[in-house]
């Protein structure tokens, strides 16, 4: 498939690669993102790190037959062990460790029930962090529910889609276009709040949604309705130049009304699937218009595009700041 976007496929930033519960202590997982094999392991202490899959020594894939020893990962080929910083700490047959024996690492943050890595093609240190959302460890909230799927798209398209109020009635069956209450760009974060109303089983159900985008890969969202408050992580992680894995993870505030929690457990995942399915076909096939014909109500889209420029090397942070 030809690449169909004018901007680079991998803007730098944080990207979700696993859920915390996907990887137990002493476990190794290989994930395929950014057209690379990435090995994630959790040490005995519980710490998680992510690295290029291939040993700096003679190139073995440490995710195939590698072992976790304490807080190190041991290569299956020659038994060299490497710590969470990527540094070789033991060679079974050699006392002197070559200082260059170090893995290419991806900075890792494990928060809100998920594991995020920072990807920058140039390998520079993270320019921002992700915030902790207390609801994800709050006992008054449900346990994490998760849904994910693949789509042929670009991470920026996913962010644009979330801010594109005009598509809600037609694609997602809303009665009217939601109203943007505020839109704030703050460095690598973009905060948007919008209000609207849906009908749920014939009953009016007003909603108050806040989306906090951190880079183009991660959106932390909150949806407050009369029925329930839901906290969402919407993640978009490039598998390769043309394909994304979209993750939707959420927790909802447990209700005191008898039976309602059971209903929510059944209803909310269905809602997520329905929502996602609406976008999927359009995203799979649409093209990216650099100069879209927009009406005045669609100004937020251009705000987002200006903000998004900072995550691409070609444009640079300076240009985005000047814009």
């Amino acid at each position: 498939m030809d690449y169909r976007f004018p901007m680079g496929p991998y803007p730098y930033g944080w990207y979700q690669v696993l859920l915390s519960r996907d990887i137990k202590r002493k476990e190794i997982k290989t994930v395929e993102y950014f057209n690379k094999s990435i090995v994630v392991f959790r040490g005995e202490s519980g710490t998680v790190s992510a690295r290029d899959a291939y040993c700096p020594h003679l190139g073995a894939h440490v995710g195939v037959g590698g072992k976790v020893v304490g807080d190190t990962i041991q290569c299956p080929f020659h038994g060299w062990r490497f710590d969470h910083d990527g540094q070789c700490v033991d060679i079974p047959y050699c006392a002197k460790i070559p200082p260059k024996a170090k893995f290419e690492m991806y900075p890792t943050q494990e928060i809100n029930g998920a594991i995020f890595i920072y990807y920058d093609e140039q390998g520079e240190a993270p320019k921002f962090d992700l915030p902790v959302m207390p609801e994800f460890s709050d006992p008054n909230y449900s346990k994490l529910l998760h849904w994910n799927y693949e789509v042929d798209s670009h991470v920026q398209e996913m962010a644009e889609n979330a801010l594109d109020m005009g598509h809600f009635p037609l694609v997602h069956d809303y009665k009217e276009v939601p109203r943007i209450e505020s839109l704030i760009c703050e460095g690598a974060a973009l905060h948007v709040r919008f209000l609207g109303e849906r009908r749920l089983l014939g009953v009016r159900n007003p909603f108050d949604v806040t989306l906090d985008c951190y880079g183009l890969g991660v959106v932390f969202g909150r949806n407050i309705t009369d029925l329930v408050t839901v906290r969402v992580i919407h993640s978009a992680t490039p598998i390769n130049e043309n394909k994304l894995r979209i993750g939707v993870s959420f927790v909802y505030q447990k209700s005191k009304i008898p039976g309602l929690n059971l209903f929510l457990r059944w209803f909310l995942p269905k809602e997520v699937v329905r929502f996602v399915d609406g976008d999927r076909a359009i995203l799979n096939h649409k093209m990216y218009r650099e100069k879209p014909k927009l009406c005045s109500a669609e100004r937020p889209l251009m705000v987002l595009r200006r903000w998004a420029k900072q995550f691409y090397r070609e444009t640079g942070v300076e240009e985005a700041a000047a814009a």
Binding site: G59, H61, F77, H78, Y93, I97, A101
Partner: protein, 271 residues
Amino acid sequence: MSDRTPRYPFTSYPNGWYFIAETRDMKPGDERSGIVCGTRILFRMQSNGIIVLDNAMQCHEDNGLLYVFWGTQQKEVMRLPHFVELRDDGWMGPFNHVFKIRSHVQDITENTVDRAHMVNVHGYRSAPACHSFRIDGPHLVMSTEGPRTMFGITETIKMDITCYGVGLIETYVVSDHVTTKILITNTPIDEDTVRINLWFAIKKQGRLRDTIHRLLVPPLVHREFSYDLPIWENKIYRAQPILCAEEKDVANYRRWARQFFQEATVNEVAA
């Protein structure tokens, strides 16, 4: 946006002798074919019992194994293994295991000189010592000795190894209890795939021992080899590996192997 980058920074078809097929059960007039370096090669047995190819490549038959020479050098320069044990009454065999894997002949042969991997992959108690390491034109000759434990018994394993280019590895494996001769033939099938044949014969030592060896040795050889396969299939080739002081052999091997990637250089190396 880049396409898939090649897995190795050099051709999948280095120069040298490659095993193509067995000829043991061929009769005069029989025609067969085999694939070497992406090329199907037809051969037939003449009425005088001699094998001929239907193209201009050089071939050689030894104890029922047929080899062809891929490349442009003189065939006299690179010798071929002489596997008399396959037909010798003093030896049991031939035994044969075949693997078809995603790898490169240079990587597979590199494993032979890589003594350090014997500990982690093959259960040696320590990396085998190297008694000699000699380069002789297109041949690499080495002998090693190291302790390994199997079924709770630790024994010393001695190996005398000769690599004929990167396609053929001949090894005498002598442990305290059994002597085996193994010939590993690595043949590139296409750009990504190598067919590995393990041919081996076990030295006879009396009826009781032979029965045990006949039962035990072939599956053990198969098992040892199967430990290497997932590593070979999934590794990348590091052109600039970070080696430690104990691993000079690997660097020397790579320098030696370079000759098989250039045209008509074997003669110069030998001269």
